[in-house]
Amino acid sequence: MSEAVVPDAMVSPAVGGLHGEKAGGPAVDFSYVGIDAILEQMRRKAMKQGFELNIMVVGQSGLGKSTLMNTLFKSKVSRKSVLATAQEKIPKTIEIKSISHDIEEKGVRMKLTVIDTPGFGDQINNENCWQPIMKFINDQYEAYLQEEININRKKRIPDSRVHCCIYFIPPTGHCLRPLDVEFMRRLSKVVNIVPVIAKADTLTLEERDFFKKKIREELRANGIDVYPQKEFDEDAEDRMINEKIREMIPFAVVGSDQEYQVNGRRLLGRKTKWGTIEVENIAHCEFAYLRDLLIRTHMQNIKDITSSIHYEMYRVRRLNENNTVMASAELERTDAQYPSTSESPSSVTC
């Protein structure tokens, strides 16, 4: 059988680039090939397919999670707004409730799924409250993996993986609580965590800066890598942009879905006796930074990190685990190696 020749090493064409320039002589008409039209083709394809985004909100009840979601997406995306029978009772255990919406802006369609975790941190004994959340996240990875290794698989695998988990820190002004540290420490390994200081209108600017510095220190001290993670910076430009963000997290946010008249304009805000807090005013709170990070600049990056790093890590663990199913002795060793992930008694979900 004849052998195909192995591709030669990369060769740049003799003429640098495709812009043919000839000095002097009649005008040259042969420079444009049209390769850059592929950008337009990609854009068209993306618009046609639409996008998916799955955001999880975690925090004690009363911290304004639903309001923040509504403010971020300028519509009633939260579960409370959707369910006619909004439950006021705090559930006895942590529940995971997700609700999906189809939203569209300027021709770009997106399926947004907001995953709520009512009951988190509300019990008297909050040990292991991250478990159901961890399990949920891993279950989404599992569903994706199952579809991916099918023989007959769908043209586009539905992506239910949690892209981003917004963690709400109560505005105590002092430091992180053990619950916060424990949760973020465990979950930052499997999902992108974006911590925010909730109800930031109870903190003065000095208190806020102090609180943020303290939180950053504690995160560093505990080895918690929140989004944007340092190790995933791709190049110098990325690093520069992300460093600026890392110096500002956690964002101190205020949410509101009510508009008020301020200076002749209608703005989203919270009206109090001592003034109106404008949500989108960066002098008042950092909501705009959060929105820009999550939606306008880093959304694609968040999804990429989820699919190419967190999901791949899960896949490696899972496939290696299967290999050791045959040798049951090794299985125990594997369980011992990953104590933080194999919480549930069943060792299949890791």
Binding site: P26, M42, A46, I151
Partner: protein, 419 residues
């Protein structure tokens, strides 16, 4: 597939203001710009039909080309990769040319190296995808995205080699047939030729690539272009002065064939369709249709099945593990067999050698005996000889004595007589 996002439980929502996720396509495009793009074209055609020239013309650059001989014993493929850049778009282009296609006397197996090459690229992607630690995002995708099949401008019909080859490839790659050296056909002949070709393709069930019609932005131009297939192309990198411009053309004594003049040939249409409008769709079709088909067939061939929903992920792994065990067991068995055979052979050889040794020993013994016998015989002879000699010497002595006696007796007698 516009209904992709509307499923049960998902309600459409209207936004009260500008949220900002309309920048998502831009974010996606920016990421792709950083990563760069990959495009792989396979050119199949007879030697000298103009594949390399057309590639040069299409991409406005001078790829390294060798003129091939017509005496290749088998069809080969030569792949070359180039890094091109236009404004901010970086393209890694791989051009694969067939070498010696159509030159052999027996062309029955000509299509095989091409099929093998395409399958090899699929295989290597599949391997990467199945790895445990994989890096698909950095993977240099070498799968063939577009296959330009060069048809000889005979003006009559397709050759049987063309039909056979295209039939073998149509489920593996996006085929775009082109009529090469179109400046040798007149306009009216060309029209008839195109119709004949398309009808032959249809009647033989060859599925060529259809430019996609599902996106309204490009549906119209794609429909028109689908009607112009196969494109009649002329390639040239030489410039000729026409009017006050330098254009790519072929100069003949009877006129100048301008490559980019749509009245002269379909080159511009080809460039438009292949690069400007459908490059992304070609890549997507390769990944979602041709590659998936290859993957499905390959995995089924290896014995994997999607069993019931309860055991999906495990089944792939279990089957894989089972197969691996099977393979290892098989290997072990073969190893044992070989070892046994080896031991057997050694034994045999050993016994053979022992036998030979014994034989040698017995021969030695025999010879020794023979030697001893002869020695004994010789000794006997010697003894006899000695005896003879001694008896002879005795007799001689006796005779001498007798003679001496008789002499003395005679002497005495003589003395007596004399007295």
């Amino acid at each position: 597939q516009g209904q992709l996002l509307i499923d049960k439980g998902v309600r459409p929502l209207s936004l009260a203001g500008h949220v900002g996720f309309d920048s998502l396509p831009d974010q996606l495009v920016n990421k792709s710009i950083c990563q760069g793009f990959c495009f792989n074209i396979l050119c199949i055609g007879e030697t000298g039909i103009g594949k390399s020239t057309l590639m040069d013309t299409l991409f406005n650059t001078n790829f390294e080309n060798f003129e091939s001989s017509h005496f290749e014993p088998q069809v080969k493929l030569r792949a070359q990769t180039y890094d091109l850049q236009e404004s901010n778009v970086r393209l890694r282009l791989t051009v694969v040319n067939t070498v010696g296609f159509g030159d052999q006397m027996n062309k029955q197996e000509s299509y095989q190296p091409v099929v093998d090459y395409i399958d090899r690229q699929f295989e290597s992607y599949l391997q990467e995808e199945l790895k445990i630690k994989r890096s698909l995002h950095n993977y240099h995708d070498s799968r063939v995205h577009a296959c330009l099949y060069f048809i000889s401008p005979s003006g009559h019909s397709l050759k049987s080699l063309d039909l056979v080859t295209m039939k073998k490839l149509d489920s593996k790659v996006n085929i775009i047939p082109v009529i090469a050296k179109a400046d040798t056909i007149s306009k009216s002949e060309l029209h008839k030729f195109k119709i004949k070709i398309m009808s032959e393709l249809v009647s033989n069930g060859v599925q060529i690539y259809q430019f996609p019609l599902d996106d309204e932005t490009v549906a119209k131009v794609n429909t028109t272009m689908n009607g112009h297939l196969p494109f009649a192309v002329v390639g040239s990198t030489e410039e000729v002065s026409v009017g006050n411009k330098m254009v790519k053309a072929r100069q003949y004594p009877w006129g100048v064939v301008q490559v980019e003049n749509e009245n002269h040939c379909d080159f511009v249409k080809l460039r438009e369709m292949l690069i400007c409008v459908n490059m992304e769709d070609l890549r997507e079709q390769t990944h979602t249709r041709h590659y998936e088909l290859y993957r499905r067939c390959k995995l089924e061939e290896m014995g994997f099945k999607d069993t019931g929903p309860e055991s999906k992920p495990v089944s792939l792994q279990q089957t894989y593990e089972a197969k691996r065990q099977e393979f290892l067991v098989e290997l072990q068995k073969r190893e044992d067999e070989m070892r046994q055979m080896f031991v057997q052979r050694v034994k045999e050889k050993e016994s053979e050698l022992k036998e030979a040794e014994r034989e040698l020993q017995s021969r030695f013994e025999q010879l020794k005996r023979l030697h001893a016998d002869e020695k004994a015989a010789l000794e006997e002879k010697k003894r006899l000889l000695d005896e003879d000699q001694s008896s002879f010497s005795k007799r001689r002595a006796a005779a001498q004595l007798l003679q001496a006696q008789s002499l003395t007796a005679n002497g005495k007698k003589d003395k007596d007589r004399k007295k």
